[in-house]
Subunit: 242 residues, 2 copies
Amino acid sequence: MSETKANLDTRERILDVAERLFMAHGYEGTSMRMITGAAEVNLAAVNYHFGSKEALLRDVFRRRLAWLNGERLRALDALEKQADGAPLKPSQVLEAFFGTLLRMGEDESLGGMTFLRLLGRTLTEPAEFIRTFFAGEYAEVIERYKRALFRALPDVPRAEIVWRLHFMLGAMSYAIAGTDVLQVVTGCELNELKELNEPDESAGAGVAGNRDEAVRLAERLMPFLLGGLRAPLPHFIQENLQ
Amino acid sequence: MSETKANLDTRERILDVAERLFMAHGYEGTSMRMITGAAEVNLAAVNYHFGSKEALLRDVFRRRLAWLNGERLRALDALEKQADGAPLKPSQVLEAFFGTLLRMGEDESLGGMTFLRLLGRTLTEPAEFIRTFFAGEYAEVIERYKRALFRALPDVPRAEIVWRLHFMLGAMSYAIAGTDVLQVVTGCELNELKELNEPDESAGAGVAGNRDEAVRLAERLMPFLLGGLRAPLPHFIQENLQ
DNA sequence: GTCTATATGTGGATAGAC
DNA sequence: GTCTATCCACATATAGAC
């Protein structure tokens, strides 16, 4: 509340640097010394401002997720109000959920592709406190969107919808993180792929490039997700529908 | 070559334990002391048998990937021989690539779900040596399957096929790792999901349960992947086809 | 091959001066 | 709020006896 300007600057600078380094090296692979060194602040500053390394990671995410998940809820509210009681179309639900996220990649003030990559990677970190944290942060949004999808696909068993939501999250996380096997093998052949596949610390090489990158990723990913969501049901489900 | 029986046992025991612990806690989150403690071998045994922690991780994967990727190449060879020069169907290619993997989850002697989860998680680890290792291990298989998909989908731009292969790998990794946001939110509602979502160290709670788990995961995942692969192309691609 | 003991580095965190 | 100095737990790795 009564923070001075220098205080705010330090806090923000630490958050920015931590976001970038956690993205590039993972939580365990990033040390406090790496963070404070790159942010040009004292080693003790992190503990003073955030309390611990774990708390720092949480604050890095809270800064972005507050906006993201708030926006997701607003988008769904707007769609449902507009539909006036009728079920939404699956494509609308996906657009609100994934489109909102992908648009963060276009906006540097929201973290840009750096945050998107960080999010994609961190969702698969095994550390218990990270999983617990995300579960809490996402609970409300997932609940609302699950309901919307249940209504949008009334003939599909609910368990199947949840599974496919799961698959969609995976495709998106992985695509965003851009840290996979295809990188080396395909990177040399297809120039279009290169941009996404340089998860160095220098992730923001060109801001304009990041914008295009995010836009094209969204345009490629959405049809894929929709195709998967609406695919024919597995055989063992078609046989004994619930 | 001239290894004694006790030697082999120690090596294998270390590999088994390391596989389980790396799966549960990630590479950085697993210490040599955790591994040697759980395997009931001496702390120095890992360095004696494998040389370093990095080399241990590589050997954990080599043991499984040699089989997996060999099997994938054989499956593709068989399909192409049978097709006698004609392009394969997309579903055949996916079945050979993803089906072979998912069937490992049913077989405890191939690592079962423990290895599948480990693989899914490790593919997103940021450490450089891990990414380099996987790129090398997967190069041949990815190259062969890419070609097969190019032939199977002659009307789809190659860049788009590579992207969708990317998305499919993500959906699969994530689904297998079972470490995500949905876990807490959905786990309490849908009993069917619970089985997949207990990435503890005690991953092999029931072998029979693991078999069913792997089979049902495969049956759910394959239609999703095929639906995504064959989805309509993004607009900006339909407009200016290469 | 296995063990003990230890070298050597790095991690997160904090006490206390300014 | 910031900085120095330091604590202490724990990491990987190895030397050398058995």
